[in-house]
Assembly symmetry: C2
Homo-oligomer: 460 residues x 2
Amino acid sequence: MLGIKNRKTLIENGRSRLDRKARRLALDALEAALKAADPEEIVRSKVGVKGDLLTVGHYEFDLRKFQRIIIVGGGKAGGGMAEVLESLLGSRISDGIVNVPYETGSLETSLIKSHKAGHPIPDDSGMEGAKMMLELVSHLEKDDLIICLISGGGSSLMPLPRGEITLAEKCAVTDALLKSGATINEINTVRKHISDFKGGWLAKKAYPATIVNLVLSDVVGDPLEFIASGPTVPDSTTFDNAVEILRRYGLWEELSQTVKTLLVEGQKGLIEETPKVGDRVFKRVHNCVVGNNRSATLAACSQLRGVGVTPLLLTSSLEGEARHVGTVLASIAKEVDLSGNPLCRSCGIVAGGEATVTVVGCGKGGRNQEIALSSALGISGMDGVAVASLGTDGIDGPTDAAGALVDGKTIARSEECKVDARTFLAENDSYSFFSELNDLIFTGPTGTNVNDISMIIMVK
Amino acid sequence: MLGIKNRKTLIENGRSRLDRKARRLALDALEAALKAADPEEIVRSKVGVKGDLLTVGHYEFDLRKFQRIIIVGGGKAGGGMAEVLESLLGSRISDGIVNVPYETGSLETSLIKSHKAGHPIPDDSGMEGAKMMLELVSHLEKDDLIICLISGGGSSLMPLPRGEITLAEKCAVTDALLKSGATINEINTVRKHISDFKGGWLAKKAYPATIVNLVLSDVVGDPLEFIASGPTVPDSTTFDNAVEILRRYGLWEELSQTVKTLLVEGQKGLIEETPKVGDRVFKRVHNCVVGNNRSATLAACSQLRGVGVTPLLLTSSLEGEARHVGTVLASIAKEVDLSGNPLCRSCGIVAGGEATVTVVGCGKGGRNQEIALSSALGISGMDGVAVASLGTDGIDGPTDAAGALVDGKTIARSEECKVDARTFLAENDSYSFFSELNDLIFTGPTGTNVNDISMIIMVK
């Protein structure tokens, strides 16, 4: 399920023995990272049920104390997480509903219902699921337990516009922010303030029940309030912040009147702010990050070490404009050859996180494909060097590819096909570039998301 | 001469003991790097005269074989290099002229004349010096020796427009390219094709004399043909490349008719291309890189190691848009704290090279100041973390500062002064931001240039 579908082609696209070796090692390391991000593996390793004792990471709960156990939540990993959870808790579960992407297969669950929903642009079905979740939790008591399954994509999959805002208006805001180069934290700051579900509202509505949050983090640095926009987490941001972000990216004027009115009312204190730290509604909320980008990048490093390639985990908090991230990665590759710093060959430099793309052209592409394309320009001419970049959800930008793989001959190959890398990069058209070269990485939707992983592999 | 003038203030701006420690260590490491880039130290260590034997790096020359020894060249380090060379060769020198920036003090030379010239925008005086150099070398014979002193800034300091192009027209092209976000290699590709001096023309005019090039590299990766636009180096670029670059950055239409005409004539083969590899004029040309960014970054690493801070030389080929480079550096700092990768505290991550700034705002700043400002946003809130970035020439962009120093409290301090970091960054106004905070690094012109050095220092 979590493999790279076109491994063979990707390896054979290497023109030299060393290029093929570097490509193979990169794909192996990416597959190790994907395995470490598999929600089923993760939940199985972090959640345990022994008799009446439920353990979640370091937390322990005596299940005899609870009348009802309710499962809610959503995200790209919602399906896998729900399946394992139901297999562990079985008939102790009273009810449950998780919102998952359309591409998720049928769930092997009978008590937890799955609800297919739109991503990255939310839809009515997602909204319906979110409403059903609020319905489920809003009449619970102190002796009820909610297990909330949170993973990447949750923001889009569980939309619930606040007040008079329509879903179409909410989508327009998200869409504009996604294209503006805003960071995911900025996008989610806005989302929280036009939502009835995010930014702690779910916790407020579920009060006084106990909540355990199983979080598979897709946000750099694992800030709980931004993962799926933190439905059960105190919000540190304000209406003022949301308005400031929309203004900074020049989006305020294009907002619908309803959205503007709500945000301005929020600024004036005419409508309630999102629940903040110290609010009693968070007293019985327990958060546990069960998996994140670091666990995946460390798995990639471990895989490399196992085959004699010295790994360096540069960061799992990578941010920045994708094309410049690619340039920096290539700068490091050059130094390896010029001075043996920061490592000597054979080595693998792994960087996880989530870059941004500021769309200026009319092409098709994604963060990872732009990182790869930009790196290809930097490493052009080198032998035995591969740069791979992949979205662990298997969906890089609005494309069917997970990312792309390049080596020091990629630019030469593109020139032979009369495909000019700089032109395609300038047009944000990395997908078309890599389609020509057959160097897109395809995994299909992986059913998980711990951000992106980029790596430079240099062999001898 | 090569020290940081405002050390005390910069250290005392740290709010915590650890911040002050990190700041001090960063400044110490920067000073070690500056020392390693000192042209006098470098020439003294790489050039030797014993009796009639001249050694330059691995090259040896029997001085008895030469009738005349002529010194030409220019760059920010031209003064220091010329002084040491004259002290070594004394009256063996027949004649010499070097173009140096206006801010260079009087040279302690009697045989090598120094000629002050404009930088980064060339001026008539620089042109006059370049003409005098051509004059000096154009009547030499096979048994004459030219020692050519090349260092950063040489492109601007030795302008000689080709054909009918006026200096003002040439300056306009350079100026537009500098503001466009073009890389230095791209800028120099254009410069070579509108010059009578660069791109190998000096070598062609000096043929059949022997040429020894002492190169202090200010170009990432030390490509000889791009350092000072390679007056004595075969040119791998073409008129077509130059035109393509000008078009890519949208500058073609604003070119003067004279420049356009010359470039188009060049494309059509109506005027001579720059001399290429294989041309006999390069048969007696010897190039020796005597100092570069790597020697400086390694010196910084060595200084850190000596005081118990584990160094990591990330790259000395750093490229990319400054603000995104800053974000990536901050991503690495975060990872150090979150997982102890790539190093544990106390550590110093050093990255040399030259970022670019695409000017979109109306502010004042430089590459290094933008890297620092952008990093400050990323490391905000951390303790014992400093990020410093410095141009080794002491002049960061069109400012009197060499760079800037930030720590995890920089953003908090700026908020107290009502100075919004994001706004200043968006306006390319890093200089004003750091002026408010007294966190600009001042060295004055250092009389050298081996690009920029950025570092993250994290202490415990």
